[in-house]
Amino acid sequence: MTRERWIKSILAVLAVLLMLAGGLPLARHRHAQVPVVAGPGVTNVIKLSEFLPALRGTMADTNVYVLEGQEPGGKVLVMANTHANEPAGLLAALIMIENAVVEKGTLYMIPEFNASAGRNTKPGDGYPLYFDIPTEWGHKRFRMGNRDASPLEQWPDPDVYIHYPDRQSLSFNDVRNTNRTWPGRPDGPRMEQVTFAAMELMRKNKVNIAIDMHGAETMFPVTNCIVAPIKSSKIATLVSMTVKAMEGFDNHVEPSPQNFRGLSHREIGDFSDTLPFLLEAPIPFLDQPTGPKTTQLLLDGKDAFLLSLSKKKKLFVPYDENGWPMEKRVGQHCSVTLEILKQYSKKNPETAVRVRGVPKYADLVKNGVGHYFHDPSKAEKKSVFYE
């Protein structure tokens, strides 16, 4: 073989090895499954594509866990992982699926709302591919996703995303962000189809409340809050006051801006009778000025740079050496969700929703997140679903 061929062969082999070294973990991540043990309250598991067949067979289709109570009542849609790099909502939703029992009304739980984003990665920013939650029976592994859907589901991005139907100009990558594509349309880009399917779920089932769980940086003012439009603001205000006084964590209400289109707290309320609430809990991992993006930072929120910024009053949340552990964030989401149901039910007794078995903030801080996950290897096969 000539020298040139030797060199080319070696380089080609190296390139293939590099592709394998980089690509195999990404491929594994994309197809990794997270087992979910459906709790005693789950009465059915359907697919979002039931509300829009165009999603069937795509990575954007996702599970909808239905928890129907014995007594008819109100209906609630709970969504998490709209942004799959904000996992506190996912964990809270899975805890509810694995433990909640609905006595009155119906819960529709979508823990991986942007299923494609949950299988997307951000290795260029040093994000870990997975994180583990310690449980009593071992470690439960979750995929760490990205904010936006994967281009493998929806490509190319436009230069500017023109929001439907408002025609507001949004950032190009927001076309893959399911918190910018509401209310969606059946023949739009894939993520618009996802949000359209969710709107159909709400309209067809006459859902009363929609809760969208998120996380936001500590340097961002819209954190530790409920974002609500005018029609939800009274309930949101009561919820915020109550959790602050009775459960001891900070919370406030942010009004949903009328001129910022595409967000769930705006469009769900404008395009249906459902009352939307978007919950934000702090996630130090997403702040720009932190150290390395490790799983430890994701789980405990401790960072020396943020601590220094906190002392200079640059953060919008109280922050100290204890960081902001996952237990607090998941606990906030659980407590705020339960309080929304309670306050709504007080004002609307005929469409009340009564749920038990969901831990509150104090329980999660005391017992940890993993305490509420069940061992899939010991569960009945028909109760185990995969995300």
Partner: protein, 227 residues
């Protein structure tokens, strides 16, 4: 009367006067004291100074307390003067009106006896109503002037805590400056008054000041205000 008897009588009068003075000093509440809940009358109008969500907090508290009210986020003096029903105005973009006052007791047009002002600045809220900070401050001052002219009881509420404060000259502080010195009664959270700002205002104006741990604590206070 003998000199001795006169002396004893004088001493008794002096002692009596001293005792009365002592009783007054001990038991009379000093002006601007904390813990004193003022009484106010219905009908009540709630408004915002700064367009933050704190107005919703006040409304939510009134509802929990079972007190019916009218609300407008950016009322004009004319709307205030129109009384219950706010001249029939309806909500529109950037303008929010709610009317829950019991019109069987207080027919439309009944002058408001009390105005509750929720202090808290939000650029988002002001922007949504098409207002700048300067315009909002001017609007609030006009309303307060009108309330003073009509001898309407003004209750200033600051439930926003430390997040609803700021350095001197900031939007939040400007709203406090525009409202607090003119209030007849102040209700704030302890967090809002960490630096004693409202205590100093109350001491100057002699208005009673109540501090609550959390905004939810205002429910019991307002129940007692509007008996």
């Amino acid at each position: 009367m003998s000199p001795l008897t006169k002396g004893v009588a004088a001493m008794k009068k002096t002692l009596f006067a001293l005792a009365t003075a002592a009783l007054v000093i001990v038991f009379a509440p000093p002006a601007g004291s904390q813990g004193q809940i003022s009484k106010a009358q219905l009908p009540v109008l709630t408004i915002s100074a700064g367009q933050s969500n704190d107005a919703n907090t006040v409304n939510a508290v009134l509802e929990e307390a079972g007190i019916l009210y009218d609300y407008c986020d950016v009322p004009t003096v004319e709307m205030l003067n129109a009384g219950v029903g706010l001249a029939g105005k309806k909500s529109a973009e950037g303008f929010h009106v709610e009317s829950y006052t019991d019109t069987a007791k207080y027919p439309k047009g009944t002058p408001y006896k009390t105005v509750i002002i929720a202090i808290g600045a939000s650029l988002k809220g002001m922007g949504a109503s098409g207002l700048t900070v300067d315009a909002e401050e001017a609007r609030v001052r006009k309303i307060i002037d009108a309330c003073k002219k009509k001898k309407i009881f003004l209750i200033a509420v600051h439930p926003g805590g430390e997040a609803g404060r700021g350095p001197s000259g900031s939007d939040n502080e400007r709203m406090i400056d525009a409202v607090a010195p003119f209030a007849d009664f102040l209700i704030v959270t302890k967090d809002s008054n960490k630096d004693g700002r409202f205590t100093k205002v109350a001491a100057l104006t002699k208005a009673p000041l109540i501090q609550v741990d959390y905004a939810l604590g205002m429910v019991d206070i307002l129940k007692k205000v509007f008996i």
